[in-house]
Amino acid sequence: MKDHDKDKTIAFRRGVVVLLALAILTAVEYWLGISETPAVFLWVVGLVKAVLVVWFFMHIGRILETQEGGQR
């Protein structure tokens, strides 16, 4: 039961860390945008943000974990 609670706490904390990273990257993106920096930098920041969401929030790795026959 304690391991279960610990897992939950770790997962919640991971969510907070990802949110903070997304907030910082959005602030950087905004600053780059108003400074009229080359678009490539904005695309890089956007791509990093998308990877964070797809990996940590959408858990894309879960599809790879599910093997034929229902075993994980």
Partner: protein, 191 residues
């Protein structure tokens, strides 16, 4: 015999969830082509120009959507650990933030934009991109409403919460789309 059939049923459920996941991801990939086409159209028609939009409003609605994704992830994590209270609260927060995003884009940005949908390429691109995205946010909000209602009736558990996972992934997908639309509409190019 009973434990064997119970084990088989469990494996069958896991197989079903695995298949559902694959189906949802195929849908997400196919849907992303629509948004990809809109993004390409924006750069093809406007090039290095961007629409004159409220920068502060763009930043606010973007932040609202990112925070909503955080709450959706929290809701999914909570139900996966049988924490019903956090699940219900976080789902409700995601729903409220989703509505706030719609109000920000449709209620304010559409009204404040100095052009209409028929005012050249700028208007067509802006309303098509934000409109198509807002439609997806709206369907996500409806999906979340169903999940919240079922959650209040006690329908989900740590062992069985595929609908929550599907709603969460759909919601995050809508967030990922906006991650690319935000710089394309508000930040890249000159007014």
């Amino acid at each position: 015999m009973s434990s064997r059939s119970s084990s088989l049923a469990h494996r069958s459920d896991e197989y079903q969830v695995g298949t559902n996941r694959l189906g949802l991801w195929l849908f997400i990939v196919s849907d992303s082509f629509v948004f990809g086409a809109l993004l390409i159209t924006r750069f093809y028609l406007l090039g290095d120009r961007r629409p004159h939009l409220e920068q502060s409003l763009g930043l606010i609605v973007t932040s609202v959507l990112l925070v909503s994704s955080f709450f959706m992830n929290r809701a999914e994590t909570a139900i996966a650990h049988n924490d019903r209270r956090t699940f219900l609260f976080s789902t409700a927060m995601t729903l409220i933030l989703g509505v706030a995003f719609l109000v920000g884009v449709i209620g304010f940005e559409w009204r404040l934009a100095p052009f209409g949908p028929a005012d050249g390429a700028e208007g067509a691109i802006f309303y098509m991109m934000t409109g198509m995205h807002a439609f997806h946010v709206l369907t996500g909000v409806l999906f979340l409403f169903v999940v919240l209602r079922n959650g209040l009736r006690g329908h989900y558990s740590a062992e069985s919460h595929w609908a929550v996972e599907a709603a969460a992934n759909y919601w995050h997908f809508v967030d990922v789309v906006w991650i690319f639309f935000y710089p394309a509409l508000y930040l890249i190019g000159r007014v």
